[in-house]
Subunit: 248 residues, 2 copies
């Protein structure tokens, strides 16, 4: 089964080109990568901690959360996944998954076997480098999250996270101006920020009152990007985008 996106609308290619310069050959090879398409309903786990998958999962549309459950039963979301991401690419080299990945919305995904990925990497060493780079950027995002959770108060922490989401969404074409769909509940933000739902709610209200955000239902609008960036102490360098789309 082959994905049949025009190259421009292939989320994987679009994503990789936001962090790496591909040749025509490489773009074509990625275009020809076979994947098993699937639609997964919201609030379903795609993979679970402890799994030993033999394939990885490309997100074509929708949102996922990569998370851990502590022994005490608390959930920590360690990153959000969006179109173009392969949130379990690590499983190519780490046999046992140390995280679970669940959908926040209905998602269209493409499963790519590790064998196919390995073949692709063998034939195109620069694609190895591109994927490696992608996992390194993912690592950079985790580092920033450690810093965000460890060293910022809830208000600034939330501001920072919203900045990151906007920039990452813009890199894959999912932002119009300073507005985007953001189907993340307050409970999910809480699990990502390491605070409680109640506190997320209070912080969001304060941010609305301060004119930093307009957030209603699944829709986010940022009336004052500079102010939000400042509140979140946000500097997009760690996202390592080829073209710095956060300049605006």
């Amino acid at each position: 089964m082959h994905a049949s996106f025009p190259s421009q609308d292939n989320p994987l290619i679009r994503k990789l080109e936001s962090i790496f310069t591909l040749t025509d050959d490489e773009r074509q090879a990625l275009q020809n990568l076979s994947m098993q398409l699937a639609v997964i309903k919201e609030d379903q786990d795609i993979v679970r901690e402890g799994d030993r998958p033999s394939r990885s999962c490309l997100i074509l549309s929708g949102f996922t959360a990569t998370y851990k459950i502590t022994a005490g039963g608390k959930r920590q979301i360690v990153t959000f996944g969006m179109a173009g991401d392969i949130p379990d690419l690590q499983s190519l080299h780490l046999k046992v998954l140390d995280i679970s990945i669940g959908t926040l919305t209905q998602c269209r995904v493409g499963f790519i076997t590790h064998d196919d990925l390995r073949n692709l990497c063998t034939r195109y060493p620069r694609i190895t480098a591109a994927f490696w780079r992608e996992t390194l950027i993912e690592g950079a995002i985790f580092r920033e999250w450690v810093t965000n959770v460890g060293r910022r108060e809830a208000y600034n922490r939330m501001a920072h996270m919203l900045c990151e989401l906007l920039v990452r969404l813009r890199a894959v074409g999912l932002v119009e101006g300073y507005s985007c769909d953001l189907p993340i509940t307050q409970g999910e933000f809480a699990d990502a920020l390491g605070i409680t739902t109640v506190h997320v709610n209070r912080v969001l209200q304060q941010m609305r009152a301060d004119g930093l955000i307009e957030l209603k239902g699944d829709r986010l609008n940022i009336p004052d990007w500079e102010k939000l960036k400042q509140a979140g102490e946000f500097d997009p360098t760690y996202l390592h985008l080829e073209i710095d789309q956060a300049a605006a």
Copy 2:
């Protein structure tokens, strides 16, 4: 300039063999890797956020901290480095550093040029995989830290970090029984755990009173490993060691 360790005492080989199975050829190639040796005093930065290094830094002995400084001037340590680690291996594929790395103690290090690393990877694709795997494990450690900082209280957070340090040190042969050198100050723990020095102090006292640890100066001893593991909800899976050295 060549490092002249017998293979068993080459920290890089020892570290890679704790997470990957090397052939004799590959071991030899790593053994022959040329590096510029240096000794760096304690409390010195090796590299700084914003740098664009053309080489990476192998730690031969001593401890480092990888950290960020927030706009508000607070420091967050995102991981500790020890013998065998290449804490800025990422710079091979990410041009601009998003973190700084400083020494906690005097360190012996070996600088390896990116050109040499790239040549090695081209000639030995399995070494590419080994290095990639190493960076993926580093990513797994960041994920665990996000969870630790986000979802555990200070006491359990500290217990978890001590467990991780012991297991990682054991993997490179720096633990005798349940004792090791641990030249990390309370202020540094504070910056790693996302709490204050004062609070670190109170937590450590409580842990001592509970019989979880004996910590004096640079020396850590763990009289009751099971109890400490339980307090930290520690499961070493995320370290992805080849031989699970935490089983004991």
